[in-house]
Amino acid sequence: MMLKTVTTFVITLSILSFSYSQSNKIYGSYESNAVYYQENEEEAYQNKLASNNYLNIKYLFNSNWNVEVQVESYLPKKLQSYSDSFENTHLSTLNINYSKNNFGFTIGSIYDQFGSGLILRTWEDRQLGINNSIWGLRSTYGNEKVNLKLLAGWQKKGSEISVGKVIGFDSEFTLINSSDIYQNLILGISYVGRFENLVNPIIAYDFNDLTSLFSTRLDYFSDQFYFEYEQVIKSKDGITQFGIISNEFVKKGSAHSLNLGFTKPGFGLDMTFRRLENMPLFSDRFEQGEIYNESNINYLPALTKQHDYQLANINVYESQANVSFPDPELMKSGEIGYQFDLYYDLKEGSSLGGRYGSKLSLNFSSWYNLKGEYTYYPSDYDTDFFGFGEKYFYEQSLEIRKKWSLKFDNIFLFINKYYNKRYVEEKIGEINSQIFILDNSIKLNNKKSVRFELQHLFTKDDKKNWYGYGLEYNFNYNFSGFYNTIVNYENLEENKPNYYSFGASYTKNALLFSVSYGKQRGGLLCYGGICRYVPEFKGFSFSVNTSF
C-alpha cells in the first residue's frame, strides 16, 4: 500500500512539476468534496471528516500523442455511502492515446460507448461513485462512411480490477447521406463479450464462460423526422439469486429500444418504447445486485424525465432490467414501457404567450413488469413479447416557463406520479403523489438577482405530505448565498422530519468554491437514471472544483 501511494505521488508530482516548462500542453481539473459529519447512524462517521478528491491531468505531447492521468484521494476516509473499494490515494485513470489520419489507438483506461450503451458504456460519474472504465487496449478507425472500434481489457473496480474480461467490437456505416432532401441513415452492428471462468468444485455449470451480446441498430434523420431502433440479443447465462448461481436458472436476455420524433421550429415531439428482459451485464457475475453499480458493463437507465427539484426527486424510478424472484408473490424478469415528450413555444405577442412568450413542455412515462408465466420453484418464466404486467411506475408532468418582464420570470411544474415501492424497491407499498413547484427569478440592479422556489408534495400514502421552499440570493455574478428546506410535515411517526441546507458559493472563472451546513435526506440518490442509496446525515460540506 505504501509503495502504491509513493508511486502515485511520484508520478503525479513529476507530471505537475513538468507542467511549469510546458506551456499550453498540460491542463486538467481538480475536484474536492468534503463533509464533516455530525449526527450519523453509522458510528464510523460520527463526528468525523471525510473527503473525495480527484485530480485529472492531460498532457499533449504533440498533435498525435496525448496522455491522461487521474489520481484520487479518499482522505482521511471516503465519503459515506461510497464503495469500500475507494480507499487512500490511488491512480484511477491512466491512458496513452495516439491518433493519426483516420486511425486511433488507446492503451490504459478506456471510456467508450457503443450505440446508446445498451451493451457497453464505460464512464465516470463522481456523484454516483461510478468509474467503470476498461483497463486495456482500443483501436479505432473512422471516415465519413465507416466507424470501427475494437477493445479488450478488464474493468476497473475502485482501486482494483475485475476478474472477468471484456471484449467489444462496434461498427457504424452511413448508408444514405443526402443533402438535397436532407436524409441520414446509419446502420450499427456491435458485439460485447464477457469472459469469466466460474470455478465451483461441486457444480459443472452448463452455460459458457463467455456471455455474448449482439446489437444491431438503425438510425434515420431528416429535417423534421427521426427514428432510432436498437435490438440486442444476450446469450444464456446463469442468474444470480440470493448470491447463488445454479444450473436451475439459466436464461437468455434481450432488449428492444425504439425512438421516434417529429420537430419543427417551435414544436418538438418525441416517443420512446423500450423492452428489457434479463439484460444486466457485469464484469463479475456475482456482482449482480451490488448497490454501487461498479461492475456494470452496459447502461440501462430509467427512461423517465429527470428533475432538478428536491420533492420531485422523492420516489424516483430506477430501471428494472434484472431478473429478480425475492418471494413467490414478487417475480420480475425485466421491464416494458414508453415515454412521450412534447415541447411547444408559445410565441411572443400571442394570446397565450403574452408579451415575452412562454415555453411549455409535457412528459408522460409508464413502465411495467413483463407479462408472462412465472414459477417460483423451480425458478422459471416465459414472457409475452408485447405483454404489460404489473405496473412499476408512471409519471405525467407539465412545465411552463413564463417570462413576465425583462426582470421577472418563473417556472411552474406539476407532476402526477405513481410509484410501486413493492416492485421497484422490493419493499412494501404503492405511492400516488402530486407535486407542485413554483420557481421564480428576479433580476435586481448591479448584477444582483434573487431566486425563490416553493414546492409541495401531496400524498396519502407512505410518509404523507411534504412542503419545501428555497431562497437564493446572488450578490453578484461571483458570490451567492442560499437556504432551502423540505419538511415531511404529516409524517408524525418520525416526528415531522425537516431537512435543510444553507451556505454560500463563490465562482471566479473556472473556480467554484462552496460551503454549506445542513441535514440531508436519506434515500435513493439518482443521477442520469442510475440510483444509489445514501444515508441521512447532518454536517458541514465543503466543495471546490476547478479546470486549469
Binding site: S51, L75, E124, E228, F267, G268, D308, R451, L512, G528
Partner: protein
C-alpha cells in the same frame, strides 16, 4: 493524516498554479443529425465562439441558453459570434434534445457529447460551464450561471483585445 491532507492541498496548489488550457482538443463528435464533426471544425475560426456545456435536465443551463437565445441576434450585429451548445445528455435524456431545442426555437449549433468524452477532455467537472474562444484560442471560461450573467459574457467578447 496531517501528511495526507497536506498532500491533497499540494496537489491542488500545483494544479491551480500550472498553465491553463489554451486550445480545444480535437475530438470526433456528433451533430444533431448524427453526422461526425471534429470539435475544432465546429468552432468559428474567424471570430468568437461561445461554447456552452449543458443538459436537458440542468435548469441553470437552460436558463443561460434561453437568455443567450433572446439576445444573440443583437450580439451578432455587433460581433462575429457563434454559439455552440454541447449537450452532455447521455442516452437516457439525449432523445429530449431535438424536441427541446425546436420547442424553444433555439438558433444554436448543437453537438452531442453523449458519453461526455469532450467534457472530460476539456477538464469540466460540473455544468453549466461556458467557454469563449477567439479563433482557435480559449480566452475565457466560467462555471455556473446566475440571471443576467450573459451580459458579462458579451462584455468579455467586447473588451477582448485581439
Amino acid at each position: 493524516m496531517l501528511k495526507k491532507i497536506i498532500f491533497s492541498c499540494l496537489l491542488y496548489l500545483f494544479a491551480y498554479s500550472s498553465s491553463s488550457q489554451k486550445f480545444i482538443p480535437n475530438l470526433e463528435l456528433k451533430t444533431l443529425n448524427y453526422e461526425s464533426i471534429k470539435s475544432v471544425e465546429a468552432i468559428n475560426q474567424d471570430g468568437f465562439t461561445i461554447i456552452s456545456f449543458w443538459a436537458t435536465w440542468c435548469i441553470p443551463c437552460i436558463n443561460e441558453l434561453d437568455a443567450i437565445n433572446d439576445v444573440i441576434s443583437e450580439w451578432k450585429k455587433k460581433k462575429d459570434i457563434t454559439v455552440l451548445a454541447i449537450s452532455t445528455d447521455d442516452s437516457r435524456s439525449k432523445k429530449r434534445v431535438r424536441p427541446l431545442i425546436n420547442g424553444k426555437d433555439w438558433i444554436f449549433d448543437i453537438i452531442f457529447d453523449t458519453n461526455q468524452e469532450f467534457k472530460r477532455a476539456m477538464g469540466i467537472v460540473g455544468i453549466p460551464h461556458t467557454i469563449i474562444t477567439y479563433k482557435s484560442e480559449i480566452i475565457h471560461r466560467r462555471i455556473g450561471y446566475t440571471p443576467g450573467e450573459e451580459e458579462d459574457l458579451f462584455k468579455v467578447i467586447s473588451n477582448y483585445k485581439k
